[in-house]
């Protein structure tokens, strides 16, 4: 399931509800992305996430479909926020459920790596002095995505 929203989410509530009732699930993995208070050695006071409504949901749904093709997932959840966020606030939640831990853990890492380079989100960081700067894409993120190309679960 994909959710793109401005509002915060409650990790406890989401994970308690996630994959509940499916007794075949032996493991749930999750990743939570947070806003840091520093970027490249400089303090950050806020961050605004812009996105492309419509394409965002489409790309996230395709990423979920790709994860489900690669691993035997019982369930999959991606919540990604947009709007102005403060350091410490949650940006993204990725959760995966499978019969065994390996598929859940790997699929979770795949989803966060893949969405970072595919989903149309852009971060605008604000410094305490009021300067705003668009975050540049990292080559290390491209490499993290590249790592999954052709990779398949056994």
């Amino acid at each position: 399931m994909i959710r793109v929203q401005e509002a915060d989410f409650d990790i406890g509530v989401e994970l308690a509800r996630f994959a509940s009732g499916d007794r075949g699930v032996g493991g749930v993995a999750c990743f939570v992305g947070l806003v840091r208070d520093m970027a490249e050695g400089k303090p950050i006071s806020a961050m605004t996430l812009e996105h492309y409504p419509g394409m965002t949901e489409k790309m996230l749904a395709e990423t979920e479909a790709e994860a489900r093709r690669r691993w035997p997932l019982a369930d999959c959840l991606v919540i990604h926020r947009y709007g102005r966020l403060r350091p410490g606030e949650r940006i993204v939640l990725v959760a995966t459920a499978s019969a065994h831990r390996r598929a859940a853990l790997e699929a979770c890492q795949f989803l966060i790596d893949w969405l970072k380079t595919q989903a149309p989100f852009w971060k605008l960081e604000e410094s305490p002095s009021g300067e705003a700067r668009w975050v540049e894409a990292k080559e290390s993120d491209d490499r993290a995505t590249e790592r999954w190309r052709g990779a398949r679960a056994d």
Partner: protein
Amino acid sequence: MKVLYFAWLKQKIGLAEEEVTLPAGVSDVAGLLDWLAARSPRHQEALARRSVVRVAVNQRYARPDCPVRPQDEVALFPPVTGG
């Protein structure tokens, strides 16, 4: 054609979106970017570094040789930084 701009492309051009009428001869993404760049000095500056401009046609990533038609929704944006 509807053209959308995001992040610093939106700021530099000063528009979130615009409706444009494609001239004859503009048939793919590369041609569209050349034509858009000539619309104003702001467009030209925003589109100067093509290597950092990503394009989506009808909400799908598109390469320079991807065809474009008048009814398409085309979006221009920098490399994405979500997650």
